[in-house]
Amino acid sequence: MTALLRPDCLVLASMIIPLVAALVIPVFHNRSNLREGVTLIAAVLLCATVWSLLPGVMAGKPPSYDVVEVLPGVALAFKIEPLGMLFGLIASTLWIVNSVYSIGYMRAHNEPRQTTYYVCFAIALASTMGVAFAKNLFTLFLFYELLTISTYPLVTHNRDSKSMSSGRLYLMLLLGTSMLLFLPAIIATFVLAGTTDFAPGGILAGKAGTTTLIVLLALFAFGIGKAAVMPLHFWLPAAMVAPTPVSALLHAVAVVKAGVFCVAKIVLYVFGLDSLSGSGANVWLVYLATACIVGASLIALSRGNLKARLAYSTVSQLAYVVLGAALATSAGLLGGALQIAMHAVGKITLFFCAGAIYIATHKTEIKQLDGIGRTMPFTMLAFLIGSLSIIGIPPLGGTWSKWYLALAAADAGFLIVVGALMVSSLLNVAYLLSIVGRAFFLPPRPDDDDHGHGNGHGHANGHAEGGIHEAPLACVIPLSLTALGCIVLFFQIDNITALLAPAAAGK
């Protein structure tokens, strides 16, 4: 028994726990309490498992597990380096919160196909852990594809023609880019470097000329469609048709986050920071990411649908991570990695709020939110905190990532980028705080009653008495917790940088 608790076996357990949950959940498909119980137990177990791996990584003894050598030089293998540790911690912790929220949301909504939903969610989490802990490009690619396939039923959860066509776009774009660009890049890397194992300093260092590096970087940056680097970002707003907890999963926990994580990990361990920045092959990606940051912010500003605005905000915010990777300096990578964590907690808060608003009032458009802060004060307070963290205002976690990124850009001599980051922050203020402003300071609109169908009486109550009408507790508690998390992360920065330092130093 104790042998099973060795760190090396726990690495494997972090994938097996959610997979076992995915097998057990269908058994209880007619007993929803047990079914959701399985999800929650698995989430807690997974979280505990992943946290228990942290001391080893901090001590510089990364747990690893080689499962099988699939082909000569290509193995299914896991090894936890600091970047993956951070991503794993974030994803596994947020799964618990998201599960609680899912239960509240799906039940409040009487959604059909809940068993499929929880099964796919669990598989998606297993894939995310695989992506986080992959030791080499093959393992990374395997779980990357599994993540796409397992989230497809979630995106198409409603099964109507709109969600089916969005799902088709989702699948084709993500599978397409990964097969047409990502896979050739992996094969070319294997041919050039003779291995696909991630190694500090980069396996391509000294193995390829500048032109080859540019081509490979482009293949990776666009091949990882999940990173939503413009112009391959449009699947993400389309995937907004899914239920809100799924959007939260896509944006904060798994999919997009896994995408930018892959980009960062590949820059760090395949290209190597010094060899990439030394070759100059990264400059185009710095500018593209910057353009993406500002461009997506502008589009977000023009969107009147709450979830669509948040979606473009994600495109913009996650380009920060790509930017950090593209700068290929220690500070840049540190900023990018921090942004993975900070954005996750901030954005999941915002999506939880959007879902809570939808459940309580069936409102989806921003202009309907006038005065909603009076009936949903907790939700909108959390929304405020999440927004401030995304913008990067102390004392909230988002401050640090923006700080390190601006520092890194200035260090590397990209002054335009520094300017663009500031412009983007202002745009963030404009498109996020305007929502909070409406909610708290404008009077409720009298003419939007026709949107209250399905929940009409509660809504009418809210109007008549001006009392509090929040979403179910199972929704409000998670979003309060994640809002709190934004604050906690601000003060935990020393611990996080201590974890990331060896990776950022290129060791």
């Binding site: 099988v68 699939v70 082909l71 093959f138 039923p153 397409g176 097969m179 047409l180 094969i187 041919v191």
Partner: protein, 497 residues
Amino acid sequence: MTAISAQLPALQVVLPLLGAVLAALMRRGTPAFALTLAISWTLPFISGALLYQTLTGDPISYRLGGWEPPFGIEYRVDVLNAFVLMLVSSVGAVILPFAHRSVASEIDEDKHAWFYCMYLLCLAGLLGIAITGDAFNAFVFLEISSLATYVLIALGRDRRALLSAFQYLIVGTIGATLYVLGVGLIYLVTGTLNMHDLSTRLVEAYAVYPQPVLAGLAFIVVGVGLKLALFPMHVWLPNAYAYAPSVVSAFLAATATKVAVYLLIRFSFGVFGKAVAFPTLTVTDLIVGLSIAAMFVGAAAAVYQTDLKRMLAYSSVSQIGYITLGVGLANQAGLTGGIVHLANHAIMKAALFLALGAAVYRIGTCKLNDLSGIGRRMPLTMTAFAIAGFGLIGTPGTAGFISKWYLALGSLEVGGWPLLLAIVASSMIAVVYVGRVVEVMWFREESPHVKGASEAPLAMLLPILVLAAATVYFGFDTRATAGIATRAAEMLIGGLR
């Protein structure tokens, strides 16, 4: 015991041949099925023993009737054909339990025993082609398997099955004729029919009579190309697979074209390779070109099919393109990819055809729209279908990825970025045709046909699940597939020098 083990090469062919005769004497289906099952489950042990011997020692040479080669017929088993024997006999063993109910529901009762007779005959022919070391003997077995195949296809319950069988008969006969013409030409210039002997004698003959030797190669490549459905000689295949009984489609897709590809590999590398320096010939470029055309045309045609058996058939045209691409690349990694895809595609395609066969058994149709929502009614069968479908796409974690990996490495070795792109781009089309079906099966409302359908019976379900599990298993443990294919490719490439 040793007496038997020495006779294993002969038993590999004689057992199913004798079985066919016995089955022909039977009147009822069930005893014929039992006999076929017993034989089918014995054959993998024989080929397993042969494979083990060739992997651990030298190639096995068996003199049929005790006549010395090159005068008598020699059965010669090396790593390559032991691998093919293992593949054919294992697939046959796995899918046979499926046959009993499927045949009972699709074929008239008085023809059941005949079906098993023809099935065994076909199996004997295919194993014979793979095992023999004699070029003319291979022709004889080619005809045995082909004649049996025509009958098997014609047993399909759709009346168009007859026409398809006739079409295949014409094309197949032309193919066999071209093959035997090619064999005749090289016999004229060398005076031998033994493949091993030919490979050395052709070196001298090529120096004296280059044109006849090359013409012989051309006849054989085209003749075998017809049998393996190399684009654009594939036109017979979609009809044949679509209208044949379900279990026959699965069996043929998994074995018949594969054995023909084996002949192509054996002749181009083993027999002619040394004499004409096969990798340097223009014909390799031609094969690469045709393979790429097959990969795209087959996949694109598959997208437009509404009959799913037909769709799988066009997908086979595309997948055979991957295999022959490996042959055309003619380097170590490419050839390994081609050979490993022989096995991987056989496993995946058998799973897919059987899953459809199970659907036909339950609801009587395999039109795309009739199958909508069937995933919830037959969850295990259709999960297996989806897994094997992902294999066709080449998703990592399935056997299909392994093949693609080697082919991609082989392409890059000859400096072929465009080739690499062609491989990944054509697998994108596979995403479309597989994804479309999976979407309809799992995410659509149930069609009236599907209402009341239930999971396939165990004897049909087990083969499907075994094959789907194999698709995943061979995506991770590749010792038995890529490992042996690597050794076979090493042997073939090494034999060129």
